[in-house]
C-alpha cells in the first residue's frame, strides 16, 4: 500500500496532532503517523495543566499566545476538556514570600493577571488548605486541559479537514532519493512524501537517527498519582513555588541537600473534571525508564499533604510516569534542519508540550506554507544544539 502526503508528521501526541490540524486547515495533504494509539506517549502520561504565571521571558510570550489559541479552539467547539480552574502558586516558607512577590510583579508587566492572596483569603475560599500555607499568587486566567483529549480532539479535527491518520504504524525508515526525503516507511506501508515533521517527543532522536541526524533530546521522567474521584474542591489547581526550582533550575536541584528537591519533587496538584486528583510533580533522569518509584511517590504525597492535608484520606487508584523531552539549554526545538532538505523538528518541549501544542502547530504550519512565522523562532533553531 503506497500513500502520498505533502507533509508527514511523525508523532501522534498533542504536538503532532496540533501540527496535523493546522496543516490540514491550510489545505495541505497531511499524514499523521503514530506507532501506537493517539496520545500513547508522553501526552497520555502527564497532567495537562496550562499555567502561564510561572513562566518568564522569553518563553512567557509564547505560552500566553498558546493560551489564546486554546481559548479560540475552545470557542470553535474543540473538546479538549477546557477547565477554568485558575492557578494557585502557594508557598509554605517565609523566605519564599519574596520570590513569589517578585515573580508576580514581573509577570504582571507582561499582562498576566495575578493577585497575591494571604492565608486568611485562601482559607476563606477553602478551609481545608494546609495551616502551613502562608499565601499564594493566584492567576484566574490559567486553566487545565485533559491532555489525552487535546491530542485526540486535534487529530480527529485534522482528519475531518482531510488529514490521514496512520495509527499503529511505527516508522521504520525514512527514504531519501538524491539527497531529499522521498518517503516514510512504516510497518503498515510506505507513505510517499516530500516533507517530514518530527514531533515524536523523547523518541524523536531515534527517528532522526534513521537519516543520520543526531538530535540532543533526552528523557526526563515525571511521576503522577491518580486518586479516586471525589467531590469538586473549591481550589482545584495548586502549585508549589518550589516548582520554579525543580522545573527551571536544574543546577540548584543537583546541588540541593533536600532529598525531596534532589528527586525534583514540587507539588503540582490538579483536580480533573471527573473528580480525580492528579498529584505530581517529579523530575529525574533515568533514561527511558517509566516505572514509578516508592521514594518519589512518598515525597509527592508528603509534599501534597502540606498544601491539602485531606488528600491523605483519599485512595490512590493508579500511579504512572511520563517522559518529558528535554534539551541542554532548556528551550524547545522548532525549525528546519539545515543539512536535510525538508526535515522539520517540533520537539524538545520539556514540561511545556501540552501548553505549547496549539502554538507549535500554528508556527509549523506557517513555516511550511509561507516560510515565515508570526512569532520569532530563532530561539528554537535546532542548529544551536549541534
Amino acid at each position: 500500500m503506497s500513500d502520498y502526503a505533502e507533509v508527514t508528521v511523525i508523532g501522534g501526541g498533542a504536538v503532532g496532532s496540533s501540527i496535523a490540524y493546522h496543516l490540514a486547515e491550510q489545505g495541505l495533504e497531511v499524514a499523521l503517523v503514530e506507532r501506537g494509539g493517539l496520545a500513547s506517549g508522553t501526552s497520555g502520561s502527564c497532567q495537562g495543566t496550562i499555567i502561564a504565571q510561572l513562566f518568564k521571558p522569553p518563553l512567557l510570550s509564547y505560552v500566553l499566545e498558546s493560551q489564546k489559541l486554546y481559548r479560540q479552539l475552545n470557542e470553535r467547539g474543540l473538546d479538549y476538556g477546557h477547565d477554568q480552574t485558575g492557578t494557585f502558586v502557594c508557598f509554605d516558607r517565609e523566605e519564599q514570600r519574596a520570590v513569589v512577590e517578585k515573580h508576580a510583579r514581573m509577570v504582571r508587566t507582561y499582562g498576566v493577571n495575578v493577585s497575591l492572596y494571604d492565608q486568611d483569603e485562601l482559607k476563606a475560599i477553602d478551609p481545608t488548605i494546609g495551616d502551613g500555607i502562608l499565601g499564594a499568587s493566584v492567576c484566574l486566567d490559567d486553566f487545565i486541559t485533559n491532555p489525552i483529549k487535546v491530542a485526540h480532539s486535534l487529530a480527529f479535527a485534522a482528519q475531518k479537514l482531510g488529514a490521514k491518520l496512520h495509527l499503529f504504524s511505527e516508522v521504520t525508515d525514512i527514504e531519501m532519493t538524491k539527497g531529499e526525503i522521498s518517503a516514510v516507511i512504516t510497518r503498515k506501508g510506505k507513505i510517499k512524501t516530500g516533507c517530514v515533521v518530527v514531533a515524536a517527543g523523547v523518541w524523536s532522536p531515534s527517528i532522526t537517527q534513521m537519516i543520520d541526524y543526531s538530535l540532543p533530546v533526552y528523557p526526563q521522567r515525571g511521576q503522577l498519582l491518580v486518586t479516586e474521584p471525589v467531590k469538586r474542591a473549591k481550589i482545584r489547581y495548586i502549585i508549589d513555588i518550589d516548582y520554579l526550582t525543580t522545573a527551571f533550575k536544574p543546577d540548584e536541584v543537583k546541588t540541593s541537600k533536600d532529598p525531596r528537591i534532589q528527586l525534583g519533587v514540587a507539588a503540582s496538584l490538579a483536580q480533573t473534571q471527573t473528580g480525580n486528583w492528579l498529584l505530581g510533580s517529579s523530575r529525574d533522569l533515568v533514561g527511558f525508564d517509566r516505572s514509578c518509584t516508592p521514594d518519589t511517590l512518598k515525597w509527592i504525597v508528603k509534599r501534597a499533604m502540606v498544601f491539602l492535608p485531606e488528600l491523605g484520606q483519599l485512595s490512590c487508584i493508579r500511579a504512572f510516569a511520563g517522559l518529558r523531552p528535554i534539551t541542554d539549554d532548556g528551550m524547545p526545538i522548532l525549525g528546519k534542519v539545515e543539512e536535510i532538505t525538508d526535515l522539520i523538528l517540533a520537539t524538545g518541549l520539556h514540561g511545556e508540550g501540552i501548553i505549547l501544542a496549539p502554538l507549535w502547530g500554528k508556527l509549523i504550519a506557517e513555516l511550511i506554507k509561507k516560510n515565515h512565522t508570526s512569532m520569532p523562532i530563532d530561539l528554537f533553531d535546532p542548529a544551536r544544539l549541534q
Partner: protein, 98 residues
C-alpha cells in the same frame, strides 16, 4: 471470563461500569483506530476507573476482535501499574523522615 453474547448485546449496555462507558462508544473508538485496550482506554476512559479494567478489559478485547479480527492472543496486554488495588495515600508516607 465474562463474554458478551449476541442476545445480550444492546449498543447501550455499559461495558466499563466504573466510568459508565457503553458498548457503542467502545465500538466507535475501535472503528476510529483504537486497536488495543490501552488505546480504547485513552480514547473512551474505559478501564480508567476504580477497578482499573478488571471488569471490562476482557470485554473490550472481545469487542476489538469483533471489530478488527485481532485475536485476544495478539493483543498487547494493557499497561499494569501500582497500586494493585486502591490504597489510602497516607500509607505512602508512613516511613518518611522529616
Amino acid at each position: 471470563m465474562i463474554t458478551l453474547t449476541r442476545d445480550q448485546t444492546d449498543p447501550e449496555v455499559v461495558v466499563c461500569r466504573c466510568e459508565e462507558i457503553t458498548e457503542s462508544e467502545i465500538r466507535a473508538a475501535i472503528q476510529m483506530g483504537a486497536h488495543t485496550n490501552d488505546a480504547v482506554k485513552l480514547q473512551t476512559r474505559a478501564g480508567m476507573g476504580l477497578c482499573q479494567g478488571r471488569t471490562c478489559s476482557s470485554l473490550i478485547a472481545q469487542l476489538i476482535r469483533e471489530e478488527t479480527g485481532i485475536q485476544y492472543e495478539e493483543l498487547p496486554p494493557s499497561r499494569k501499574r501500582i497500586p494493585l488495588r486502591p490504597i489510602e495515600l497516607s500509607l505512602f508516607i508512613q516511613d518518611v523522615d522529616d
